[in-house]
């Protein structure tokens, strides 16, 4: 069974799974159980209508712009702060408690404060994205850096390598697997946070559009937006996963000597 399946290309399995899901959806829709589940064929014709509308394109551009600002900002700063925390005890002592606090309070609890501080616009959304993403990258990066065995550092010191050389040749490549996992998790959170924040603010981006269609009980249109969001989420995860694979081929991990 597994051996037969393993010979089928994985994209074919994905397509088969999607086709099955579509058939189930269409059948349930045709049976007319609920207004919330219109037949897939109706949704698909609406998808075309909605996706080609100017309103959708504006919202999409808006959301992607926010992602294009928020993602690199949170991931980039997360990598830097995480590396410093993993590398220098003083930085860890100073920041560890804050990282843990922000990782443990629910995002939604901070939203009133963020909105008061940054207003009902993109700045607030970017801050919410940052809150959802940054700390995840920090925690993974710092534990990745700490997991690189001290013995490598000693080797580097014996050859006279300075702090910068040790960072570039040892710490960062050694911490790469955990860093990349952190980035992958953070990317999923990033997309979810953008939509979530836009929904709260209600007038911007795909999240805003979702709110307005949902509020008007336009079920097909709502589904069209949800499908668009799912595609954005999946695509960004796939891109990150692909880059992760490339990085790990460039910096193979072999049997790294472990140690704390």
């Amino acid at each position: 069974m597994t051996s037969t399946l393993s010979r089928v290309p994985s994209w074919a399995l994905v397509l088969a799974s999607l086709a099955f899901g579509a058939i189930v959806w269409e059948t349930v829709g045709q049976l007319g159980f609920s207004l919330i589940f219109p037949p897939l064929s109706d949704v698909m014709s609406t998808v075309y209508e909605v996706w080609t509308s100017e309103r959708f394109r504006d919202a999409l551009t808006n959301t992607l712009t926010t992602l294009a600002i928020g993602w690199p900002l949170s991931v980039g700063l997360g990598l830097i702060v995480g590396t410093l925390m993993g590398r220098f005890k003083v930085v860890e002592w100073a920041l560890d408690i804050y990282v843990n606090v922000f990782l443990s309070i629910p995002l939604i609890a901070t939203i009133p404060i963020i909105l008061l501080l940054f207003g009902l616009g993109r700045p607030s959304i970017i801050v919410i994205v940052f809150m959802a993403t940054f700390f995840q990258v920090v925690i993974n990066t710092s534990s990745g850096v700490r997991a690189v065995a001290a013995q490598y550092d000693e080797m580097a010191r014996s050859f006279g390598a300075n702090e910068f050389q040790r960072m570039v040749r040892i710490t960062i490549p050694g911490a790469l697997p955990l860093m990349l996992t952190g980035i992958r998790i953070a990317t999923g959170r990033c997309v979810r946070a953008v939509i979530f924040a836009e929904q709260i603010i209600s007038v911007i981006g795909l999240g805003g559009l979702l709110q307005s269609y949902g509020g008007a009980l336009r079920v097909e249109e709502t589904w069209a937006i949800i499908i668009a969001i799912a595609i954005i989420g999946l695509t960004s995860m796939e891109i990150v996963r692909y880059l992760e694979g490339v990085m790990l081929r460039v910096f193979p991990q072999g049997h790294q000597i472990s140690g704390a």
Partner: protein, 265 residues
């Protein structure tokens, strides 16, 4: 010339335990171009002494100097070959061997030339693009040796370098090390727990006892060089290994006696 004068090293232990005296009042002089082995039971402080000569840790007492200058840290005159190789898994052979040269800020072209030359000297030409995990243990340690040789150290510090490879590979590595050493004439300080290895390679052997780590005896190895594999079968060779075993056995038995006495208290 490496001068170790009255060197001691104490390690603090956690909790309420007594500090551990790894080395106590060790004095030893190692001549230029000499092959000196440090041998002893585990915990006798031989690796600690090597790391102090390398400048990775500081003595708690006494002083270590090289050509009259006190050791203050790692320096370009020394390179270390580590027991578990410590090759960077994400760097290929050429990049690993280049590490020390790059750390010392040599120019790119020079780094490549010197690294390729060191790789050739340890017999790894053709493996420059391979990653450590693609190589056997013996080959990985050749990379470790090449990395150290590449920086042309005056003193090569080797910390049980062949302890984690199989016996056959080990003999080949020992022969190759002697061949490389003939070509460079660096001073070598070689930590080992193998008596045969110490006798086969060394000009002199410092035999350590432990608790606390001290030098019990320094032995001259008079077996003529170049030493072929057949040197291992001469009576001088077996006499010397036998003599060292007496020394180590005494140390080990003494320790066991102390342990038993402590257990009875």
């Amino acid at each position: 010339m490496i001068e170790v004068q009255g060197v001691g090293r104490v390690f603090e232990r956690g909790g309420h335990q007594e500090p551990f005296v790894a080395l106590d009042d060790v004095t030893l002089t190692i001549q230029d171009q000499e092959f000196m082995s440090l041998i002893g039971p585990s915990g006798c402080g031989k690796t600690t002494l090597l790391r102090m000569i390398g400048g990775l840790i500081k003595p708690s007492s006494g002083r270590i100097s090289i050509d009259g200058n006190p050791v203050k840290g790692p320096g370009p005159d020394r390179a270390i070959v580590f027991q578990n190789f410590l090759l960077l898994p994400w760097a290929n052979v050429l990049s690993n061997v280049s590490f020390g040269l790059e750390a010392r800020g040599r120019r790119r072209k020079e780094v490549r030339e010197l690294a390729l030359d060191a790789i050739a000297r340890v017999g790894l030409t053709g493996f420059e693009k391979n990653y450590p995990h693609e190589l056997s243990g013996g080959m990985q340690q050749r990379v470790g040796l090449a990395r150290a040789l590449a920086v042309s150290p005056k003193i090569l510090l080797m910390d049980e370098p062949f302890a984690s490879v199989d016996a056959q590979t080990r003999q080949i590595l020992q022969e190759d090390l002697l061949r490389v050493w003939r070509g460079t004439k660096t001073t070598i300080v070689f930590v080992t727990h193998s008596m045969e290895e110490a006798v086969y390679l060394s000009d002199r052997i410092a035999v350590f006892s432990r608790s606390p780590g001290q030098i019990a005896e320094v032995i001259d190895v008079q077996i003529p060089r170049p030493r072929e594999d057949s040197a291992r079968k001469t009576s001088e060779f077996t006499d010397l290994t036998g003599h060292i075993w007496e020394q180590l056995r005494w140390a080990v038995e003494e320790d066991q006696h102390i342990e038993r006495a402590a257990a009875n208290e």
